[in-house]
Each structure stands twice: as structure tokens, then as C-alpha cells.
Point group: C2
Chain length 195, copies 2
């Protein structure tokens, strides 16, 4: 049997996560009180504890959900073709995915230090495994002679930092579309690693 459709729980639960995401991104985890989240949802503070054991779980669930969704989306990427084709797809995917979720990306980078050690370790493992997917493409290109990559780990970190950086300045409706930005970044990444 399916659950009763449209129960208060089904409506309120996602609102809690959305409110926490929005407020954590805007003001930072430590600066946001459970009362502020409750007010954003439109309930009293006690109600929040029906949906989360504590404030830390709210943050961890947001970060872990974001990383899981990122990996799942990347799983759908076409992995055929040569290393350059795979790298171009990665660059366009990474920029597009990040530009579409500025708040989740922001807290995924900014709030790591507010995780408990156990939660931090889990999130770091997910992040590392995403980075490894890019490194694998760079290593394959270097092995085939298509790429010039003296140090694949440093090249990976450099490319990721460069691509993720778009979220710090990009604003929809500005001078460039997301596709324009992806074109410009792919041009730079391609030139930086091509043999």
C-alpha cells in the first residue's frame, strides 16, 4: 500500500530540507538557529524534531544527498570516445550541474568544518571518489599520448577548482549563459592539458 498522499508529513518534510538548505547557504550553518528554520518552514521549533534528530543531521543529510545526486548524475554521462571527448563531457557536465544548484554546491564546500568528524569522513570519501572520476580521464589521455599531464592529481585538483569557481561569480541573466561559460572553460581546460 502506498502512503496516504499529501499528508502533512509528505509536505513538511521536504520543506524542512529546503528551508535548511536556503538558510545554511545564505547565513552559514552556525549562524542559523532551529527557530529560524522553523519560521522559514512555518511551524514551531518543536515540530522540526519530528523530522530530524538534531541540527547536525539536517546538515549531513543535505551534503550527503548532494554528493549522491552528483555521482548519480555523473553515472549517466556518456563514457565512449577518446579522452578529449570524455573530458569535454565532464567539463560541460560539471559546470552545468553546479550552476543549476548554487546553494547545495555552496554549502558542500563551506560547511565541511561544521560536520562531526564521522560525518566529515563520509562526505570526504564521496568527494574524493568524484575527483577520481576526473583523474581517470586525465590519466587515460596521458597514457594514450593525447594529453600532457605531468601530475594527474594536481591537474585534477586544478581543473575541479577552476570549474567549481564559476559558482562564486556566475549570476543567471548576466552577460553570459551557462553554455557560453562552459564553452570558454572547455577551451581553457582543453588547451591546458592537450599534448
Amino acid at each position: 500500500m502506498a502512503r496516504t498522499q499529501g499528508s502533512h508529513s509528505d509536505i513538511t518534510r521536504p520543506k524542512v530540507a529546503e528551508a535548511a538548505l536556503r538558510l545554511f547557504a545564505r547565513h552559514g550553518y552556525a549562524a542559523v538557529s532551529m527557530r529560524a528554520i522553523a519560521a522559514e518552514v512555518g511551524v514551531q521549533v518543536g515540530t522540526l524534531y519530528h523530522y530530524t534528530p538534531d541540527k547536525q543531521a539536517l546538515l549531513y543529510d543535505l551534503l550527503s544527498g548532494h554528493m549522491a545526486a552528483l555521482m548519480a548524475a555523473h553515472d549517466g554521462l556518456d563514457q565512449t570516445g577518446d579522452a578529449a571527448a570524455r573530458l569535454e563531457r565532464f567539463v560541460r557536465f560539471h559546470i552545468g550541474y553546479h550552476l543549476d544548484r548554487p546553494e547545495a554546491v555552496f554549502i558542500a564546500y563551506m560547511e565541511l568544518r561544521n560536520l562531526t568528524l564521522a560525518n566529515f569522513t563520509r562526505i570526504e570519501a564521496l568527494r574524493r571518489s568524484y575527483e577520481d572520476r576526473l583523474e581517470a580521464v586525465l590519466t587515460a589521455g596521458a597514457a594514450s599520448g593525447a594529453f600532457h599531464v605531468p601530475d594527474s592529481r594536481i591537474a585534477t585538483m586544478a581543473v575541479i577548482a577552476m570549474l567549481t569557481g564559476v559558482t562564486t561569480w556566475y549570476r543567471p541573466g548576466g552577460r553570459l549563459t551557462g553554455a557560453d561559460v562552459a564553452d570558454l572553460y572547455w577551451d581553457m581546460v582543453c588547451r591546458a592539458v592537450t599534448a
Copy 2:
């Protein structure tokens, strides 16, 4: 007349700034209490207000001091030679300066949202003027035909994000020295923008 040497004020004042820098970098501005800063310095909380009007001023002074020192250090850079030579000096300077001050760099990027609007505006102006110095080099190289830079603003943001990213993973005593890292990054930046 010079002030009395080694007064308590001369000793305590820098300790307050250092303690605030260390704790803000480690736990975040919002998560650090004035009591925690006082304990780190080794005084009681009331004493802190002899050195700062409030907690916000502690943060603003750290960020504004960091940006001013960065600009002053960059002012000392050799600006002779062609665009490629100037760009290489910028890359090596930026990486070296940032690797030497990981805590100041960290809070300069992470704590912007905890500034009051007035203070944020001032810091953003300083940051923009630093970015403009890199953009001027890229524009000069494009004008002389040495560089391929379709959009100088985006190239500026991409290079800065890539270079500053070293602070998220670099650890002294690791596999690579700061000079090794600078060599690898200069190789990538040079290839990304050279015509």
C-alpha cells in the same frame, strides 16, 4: 617619545588578532565566541573589549589587513618584460603568498557573508582591484597577440580560482614543495592562455 616598550597592550593586542584568526579559520566566525577568543589569548572576556569595539571589527580588521598586505606584496612584483613573463610572476607570487598564509586566505573566502554590508562592500572592492591586476596582464598579452583570451574577465576568474584552490589540498611536508606546485600550475596556466 616612543611608547613604553613591551607594555601589556603591545603584547596582548597582536595576540587577540592571532587568536581570532586561528579560531575563525578553524571553527568559523559564527561558531567562535568572544569567551573562546579570550581563553585562547589567556585573558577574561571583558579584556577583549579594550582592543576591539566588537566581534565584527575583529573579523573586518583581519580581512582588510589580509587584502592590504596582499596588495602591498603584489606592488613589489617586477612588472617588466612581456605579458608571459608578467603572468608567470603573478602565478608564482599568488601561489607562494597564499600557501604561506592558509588561515588568512581561508577566512578571506569563507567569512565574507559574516561581514556587515558596509564592511563587505569595502572588502569586495579590494578583491576586485586585485583581480583587475591579473586581468590587465591577460588583456595586455591578448593585445600583443601573445595570448589567446576570448574573454578576459572569465579567464581572470578561472585562473584565480585554479590558483587559490591549492590552499584546499596543499599540506607542507607532503609529496610536493610549494615550488613544485607553482611549476605545475604555471605550466597549465601558460598553456591555457598562450596563442
